[in-house]
């Protein structure tokens, strides 16, 4: 059974994304991060977007590996020595720190991947065009340019391969040089394309005055419930931060009680119950 969350109000969806991003950037507490991870997985499962889980891991694994190596090389703090090599201690603490650090990147990837599952793009363009039309037009043009650029790069690669440009060169310098004509061409065509989109918007009356809104979104009961839930999470998180109850310093006097205190558990439960909120509010809205 798959769910479609795109009828959520644009503002609710954005608040959720901002709140999650804020929490991930503000805490190192593994339990809180784990609860966000589980929440993201639940959203991916409910919307049938398992491929996003894999895609996140593709970026996470090499980043985690590099973080672990660098942390091992430059940090020898910690009391639990895993092994000693070249006269240097490799500690469990350095390993855990690197893992937590890289898992935050994974969470940010997952949170941003959720945007397209929660946000109705057209609804967002329509909504923000009525509030800040110039910035929205600018963003829309940029977003439209990216997929077109990708297509153009492929076409130009074919054309220039057959004009003798070697894109398979092993030297990085040669490889970079081979892309120069493509970039020169892209620069010109992208500017033309952006100009054409702007002209089309002008002819269609964009920025001619106050816009009306097609299928104006109204905050529904589920938006209110979700917003209240997010508000509780925010208040709880601010309290935790203020009282330094989420502090997790693996290198200095680490104690399990710090990790598993009552408030952190409460915070994690509040995040995990978001899954329940989504389920109960959208259970009749299968896609």
């Amino acid at each position: 059974m798959l769910y479609n969350f795109k009828d959520m109000h644009v503002v609710t969806a954005l608040l959720l994304i901002v709140l999650m991003t804020f929490i991930v950037f503000s805490t190192d507490n593994p339990l809180i991060l784990l609860s966000i991870f589980i929440f993201c997985q639940a959203i991916f499962m409910m919307t049938g977007s398992r491929e996003k889980i894999k895609k996140g891991l593709v970026y996470f694994i090499p980043f985690a590996a590099v973080s672990i190596i660098i942390n091992f090389l430059f940090v020898d703090e910690g009391s639990t020595i895993l092994f000693i090599a070249f006269g240097k201690n490799f500690t469990l603490e350095a390993l855990i720190y690197a893992l937590i650090f890289s898992s935050k990147l994974l969470l940010i990837i997952y949170i941003f991947s959720m945007i397209e599952l929660l946000l109705n793009n057209d609804g967002a363009v329509s909504y923000f065009s009525s509030i800040m039309p110039k910035s929205t037009l600018l963003l829309t043009i940029s977003f439209k340019l990216f997929p077109n650029l990708k297509r153009r790069i492929n076409t130009l690669r074919e054309v220039y391969s057959l004009r003798g440009v070697d894109f398979e060169s092993k030297s990085i310098k040669e490889k970079a040089k081979s892309y120069t004509p493509i970039l020169a061409n892209l620069l010109g065509t992208s500017m033309e394309e952006a100009f054409d989109i702007g002209e089309s918007a002008y002819v269609r009356g964009f920025l001619s005055g106050k816009r009306s809104v097609y299928q104006r979104q109204k905050a529904s009961k589920k938006d209110i419930i979700l917003s209240l839930h997010m508000f509780i999470i925010l208040i709880l998180f601010i309290f935790l931060k203020f009282k330094k109850l989420d502090t997790f310093d693996i290198y200095n006097n680490f104690r399990w009680q710090v990790l598993l205190n009552y408030y952190v558990l409460l915070m994690s439960i509040a995040i995990l119950t978001l899954i329940l909120s989504f389920y109960l509010n959208w259970r009749n809205k299968e896609s």
């Binding site: 793009n121 057209d122 363009v125 329509s126 065009s129 009525s130 829309t140 439209k144 997929p147 077109n148 076409t155 130009l156 074919e158 054309v159 391969s161 057959l162 004009r163 003798g164 440009v165 070697d166 398979e168 120069t180 004509p181 020169a184 061409n185 010109g188 065509t189 394309e193 054409d196 989109i197 702007g198 002209e199 089309s200 918007a201 002008y202 002819v203 269609r204 009356g205 964009f206 920025l207 001619s208 005055g209 106050k210 816009r211 009306s212 809104v213 097609y214 299928q215 104006r216």
Partner: protein, 537 residues
């Protein structure tokens, strides 16, 4: 009072000394279909932009004279009122659609001009019903075909209920069947809603039939302005539909009223027709040998078990519907796709050759000549290809410029050239290494008649000198005139292969206008060059 009136209009683009529009005087009546033609760079699009107000409000520059809409000067009209009254559909739908979903896109313009929210919903869905695109209302625009995207753009224009819709080459990027759907929709808009239509196009035949009046532009000025039939007595053959050209050739004093009328005239005549000379060289040397070729895009099989031989010196046209696999076949031969089966290029398996080796044997010209522009002069652009191949014989550059008749463009910036000239520069930049095979993908796209004729002659000449030419094209008249052999493809397979008689004769869709006109009278008629004499019965 005319609906739209242009009085003594002159226009200069910002920073330019040369006038782009010169003393334009024009009246357009409500409900008219006006067809504007002219060579590339003649000022057609600028004229259209002057009517929408984009010139000079969006482009800047200097304007003199007046544009009046319902007797109100355009410059005095409120921007919003102007946008509601006159709207425009552009050449490339990719560059005008802003939203992801079709119905949202149709609503976008209405939101921009502040149509009341209770009205928008009805307008959006009624406009989609009118254009017969309700079935794709919830589809992502990125998943639509070119023709569907253009119909969405037109539907977005209808939703305003404008007095006038201007279309700037709306079918130039579409295949013939998608173009016909667009033309039928425009005719319906004009007939049922009374909307004034202004169309700018290089494709003459189908638009000519629905137009009320024609304008021919040259160097920024109106050279001809009159009923479409009137061009028959003037010497504007470049802008005739094929059946007008035929009527002129047969010496009719009056123009035929329609394609159907032309057929009845032909059937009542005795016409001697020269049989088509088959110029196909029967060289025995194979340059490309394809056996059991299969190409897959994920789960989609783009080419299914294709086997074909192409001999040296052929001028081969690959024709067929969109998505039939024509470009895929071309690119597979060039080693750009992985494949199953065998493709041998001069006896060597393509997948075993490096792209650089293939590029010495095959020159490839893509659909868009702008793809070949990276340098500041034509000379440097051609030199770039030689440098990539580490060829130091720069005398080859002047040779190829001379051969293609563009030696006068040697030091010009390729960005400043016309469509036809850019096309020649693109061909020059791949021909400079003297490849044995030249491949072209939709070479006539966006070219005016004169440029097409020049291109055709050039290809014939190159072919005579020994270059094997393979082109993918939707332009049946062009293919019939210049190709000696054809491959007709559908759904990843070859449906027919051979000369004019074997592929084009009796075709329902993929054949020439003349073949359709003459089929009751005589077989194997394809080109106007075949006619020799006419006697009344």
């Amino acid at each position: 009072m005319a609906y739209i009136e242009l009085k003594n209009l002159d226009y200069w683009y910002a920073g330019e000394d040369k006038k782009v529009l010169s003393n334009i005087n024009l009246q357009i009546e409500k409900g008219e279909i006006l067809f504007i033609v002219g060579r590339s760079g003649s000022g057609k699009s600028t004229l259209a932009k002057a009517i929408t107000g984009a010139v000079p409000q969006f482009y800047g520059g200097k304007i003199r004279g007046q544009v009046l809409i319902k007797d109100i000067p355009l410059k005095d009209m409120d921007y919003r009122e102007r946008a509601k009254e006159i709207t425009m559909v552009f050449q490339d739908p990719e560059r005008q659609l802003m939203m992801n979903k079709v119905h949202r896109e149709v609503a976008f313009g209405l939101e921009s001009v502040g149509i009341e929210e209770e009205v928008i919903e009805r307008r959006v869905w009624e406009a989609m019903q009118f254009s017969n695109i309700l079935d794709i209302a919830e589809r992502d625009i990125s998943s639509l075909s070119g023709g569907q995207k253009q119909r969405v753009a037109i539907t977005s224009a209808i939703a305003y209920l404008p007095g006038c819709i201007i279309l700037d080459e709306p079918t130039s990027q579409l295949d013939p069947s998608a173009a016909e759907e667009v033309i039928a929709l425009i005719k319906k808009i004009n007939e049922e809603l009374g909307t004034t239509i202004i169309v700018i196009e290089q494709r003459i035949d189908k638009w000519f039939d629905i137009a009320d009046r024609m304008i021919i532009m040259e160097a920024g000025a109106i050279k001809f302005n009159g009923r479409k039939e009137e061009i028959y007595v003037e010497n504007y053959e470049s802008f005739y539909p094929e059946y007008f050209k035929l009527a002129k050739r047969l010496g009719y004093k009056e123009p035929p009223r329609s394609f159907k009328h032309m057929r009845s005239l032909i059937n009542s005549e005795k016409i001697a027709i020269e049989s088509l000379k088959n110029t196909n060289k029967k060289e025995e040397v194979e340059c490309i040998n394809i056996k059991k070729l299969k190409v897959n895009y994920g789960s989609l099989q783009a080419l299914k078990n294709i086997s074909i031989n192409i001999r040296e010196g052929e001028l081969l046209g690959i024709i067929g519907s969109n998505g039939a696999g024509k470009s895929t076949l071309l690119k597979s031969i060039m080693g750009l796709f992985s494949y199953e089966g065998s493709i041998k290029l001069f006896g060597k398996e393509v997948k075993k050759l490096k792209l650089k080796e293939i590029s010495m044997l095959i020159g490839y010209v893509s659909q868009n000549p702008n793809d070949y522009i990276t340098k500041d002069t034509v000379y440097d652009e051609i030199k770039f290809t030689l440098d990539n191949h580490k060829i130091k014989d720069y005398a080859l550059i002047d040779q190829v410029l001379l051969k293609l008749g563009i030696e006068h463009l040697r030091n010009k910036n390729p960005r400043d050239l016309s469509g036809g000239e850019k096309q020649r520069v693109a061909i020059a930049s791949v021909l400079v290494t003297k490849p044995k095979i030249l491949m072209l993908d939709e070479p006539t796209r966006g070219l005016d008649y004169e440029a097409k004729v020049k291109l055709g002659k050039l290809l014939k000449e190159l072919n005579k000198e020994g270059t094997t030419i393979i082109m993918v094209t939707h332009d049946m008249e062009f293919a019939s005139k210049f190709c000696s052999r054809f491959i007709l493809m559908f759904n990843g397979s070859i449906a027919a292969s051979g000369d004019h008689h074997q592929v084009l004769d009796g075709g329902i869709y993929f054949t020439t206008s003349l073949n359709k006109l003459f089929r009751d009278k005589q077989k194997d008629v394809f080109n106007i060059s075949q006619f020799v004499e006419r006697d009344a019965l």
